[in-house]
Assembly symmetry: C2
Homo-oligomer: 353 residues x 2
DNA sequence: TCGGTAGTGTACATCGATGCAAGGATCGAT
DNA sequence: ATCGATCCTTGCATCGATGTACACTACCGA
């Protein structure tokens, strides 16, 4: 039915191998032959069967982008758009897998128990599995981790410096003269490494500024969604002494917090300033527009994909950690002038010992 | 390296063919053999090589979800999440392709000039190609179209009734007593079928209510993004007689419009009521929360995927049109009581003549 | 004249699974 | 004892491409 390499070979009067050589741009094919074959290919409308090619080459031609949340979470959809593009540039196919943070699903995907070694490599944003579990998985394909560092695990890793970023955000609030600065999004769970780092940055900044660390101002949330933010903010407003600023661990929490504030008639930023994290597009169109930590998502995508393909091409060097640049995007929800605090330069950080 | 069917066969002392029979749950395998093979499979950790299987079966095991906009557009990311799940349920892999509405890219994907018949089927949300062009493509794989109907083309089709939905939205504004109702999102372009239908519903509702159709209140936008909405709203506010309500052709436009209104100190809904279209999560957390037409996205995804798989399973019946249910979600941006107007029941509409 | 090598093209095996068709085994019926 | 039918298992070919190894032609320098 479909045109195969044999059909082309017959039509051009050469062997299938020669057709293959032309298709793959093997150097030693005479100009004449090459032209003849190319004409046959065009005439017949031949397209290589990628399944066959991949079987022969021992690859699947696909990499998975494993996400801990459904695609409708803006941070991940924005990131995914970049990753898809980067992968497509390399004539590979990227498949998005949604784990919903379920450890079982993450395990299954990575250890390829799921669809049967369907992927040549993984870009993995873990949630359900903690560092040790991930490191202990016997994964055969290259994996690049996104997000929190798996300490000295066998994987490459791309992440923002969460402590610095949190310091940047909270420092901004301090500089604006805020004194009761709350935090929304702490996670006392096993997998909440991101949250822990951000809380650390928050705490250190307060202490450096001579502000007391008040437990009641740190609200834990099970997830990082809008409704969690709304609920957390409600709890903060109910305090005897409510905060005059909030640092939300992501923009969705901030969206929810803002909603609660505005519904309660609290003025933002006059009464309460709000800072988010992620810089999703949604935040720029809020009223007031959201001040937020803006990680370079394009950089995350391109560093991760680039590193993954290095591994696919056989690079067997030590695992590498990349630190992704970020900046504070100051907008109306804090309104201060334009504080500058930026992350590191856009390049690799260091190989690990 | 990887465990193959031969390894299992040797280990279990049977032929590869028998292993295959067990894996594929062929009926006539003795309980004893089946058990033995299964044990070997577990012991060795065998996983079928899907590439090989697909080659043999003449399939790729993949379907493409072809989107006209990047994934970070909320409507599409929400829809994609559903589609991915539906496809995964069927042990197939869904791949998201972003065309950015480029006709060339759409053409290439569908006519499989791109990656070489990589997909067994397509769920295609067209933008760059118009009805005729799509219909004229010589696509071999089954295609289910999302969005505007390709009149009597050879494809199955899932869409909302845009005219009714627009009527529902505008009718709601009329019922609230609004008299100068604007529309944002008209598209005089060749591919703007969605927009045209919505404008039609808008216009018919006005006329039915005895309100004049005023060209100046209908603002065209090149795209359906937030900034287009913001800009369009600014233009409307600059009119000598600004509107007292706006019907936006999607929620992103409404987000932008709302932003402009709030920045200008216009009260919503008191001075201007706003209705959107799509019911993205973002709208529910706006202040004021966005009234919007809520299409059943889960239904879109499941109808489209179900129909696609019918085709993959060999159903060669006439092309079918599905009409997707919708409802008006009344929220703060119009604030009226709870108008009810719903779309059709959730089932197939009709086969075409 | 002969060996060497660079340039072209081909034959055959192979990647890992499944379709096909036929070979045995078992059992009941005649 | 023989025949069929049913149940179970297998050998071989095949899906469409590419890796390997080798054959053949020119042309080079010795």
């Amino acid at each position: 039915m479909a045109v195969t390499i044999y059909d082309v070979a017959r039509h051009a009067g050469v062997s299938p191998r020669t057709v293959s050589n032309v298709v793959n741009e093997y150097a030693f094919v005479s100009a004449t032959t090459r032209e003849r074959v190319k004409r046959s290919i065009d005439t017949l409308g031949y397209l290589p069967n990628l399944t066959a090619r991949n079987l022969r080459r021992g690859r699947t031609g696909m990499v998975a982008l494993v996400l801990p949340e459904p695609l409708h979470i803006p941070y991940f959809s924005e990131l995914s758009a970049f990753v898809l593009d980067e992968v497509a540039k390399r004539s590979y196919t990227a498949v998005i897998e949604q784990t919903d943070g379920e450890p079982e699903r993450e395990r299954a995907l990575l250890s390829a128990n799921d669809r049967g070694r369907l992927f040549d490599g993984f870009i993995f944003s873990p949630l359900g599995l903690n560092s040790k579990e991930i490191a202990s998985l016997a994964v055969k394909a290259p994996v690049v981790l996104l997000g929190e560092r798996v300490s000295s695990g066998p994987f490459d890793h791309v992440a923002i410096d969460n402590v610095s970023a949190a310091k940047c955000a909270v420092g901004h609030l301090v500089a604006l003269g805020r004194r009761r600065i709350a935090a929304i999004g702490h996670q006392p769970y096993e997998t909440g490494e991101t949250a822990r780092l951000r809380t650390q940055g928050y705490r250190e900044t307060l202490e450096a500024a001579g502000l007391a660390y008040d437990k009641r101002l740190v609200v834990s949330t099970p997830l990082f969604h809008r409704d969690n933010g709304a609920e957390a903010m409600a709890r903060l407003l109910a305090l005897a002494k409510p905060p005059d600023a909030v640092f939300c661990y992501n923009d969705l929490l901030a969206v929810g917090a803002l909603r609660t504030l505005l519904r309660a008639g609290v003025r933002v930023p006059e009464d309460v300033a709000v800072v988010g994290f992620d810089d999703i597009e949604e935040g720029r169109y809020l009223t007031p527009a959201l001040t937020t930590i803006s990680p370079d998502k394009q950089a995350i995508a391109s560093l991760a994909v680039k590193q993954l393909f290095k591994r696919l091409d056989g690079d067997a060097g030590r695992p590498v950690d990349f630190e992704v640049p970020f900046r504070l995007a100051v907008r109306e929800s804090t309104q201060g002038g334009s504080e500058a605090c930026e992350g590191p330069p856009p390049r690799p950080k260091a190989g690990r010992p």
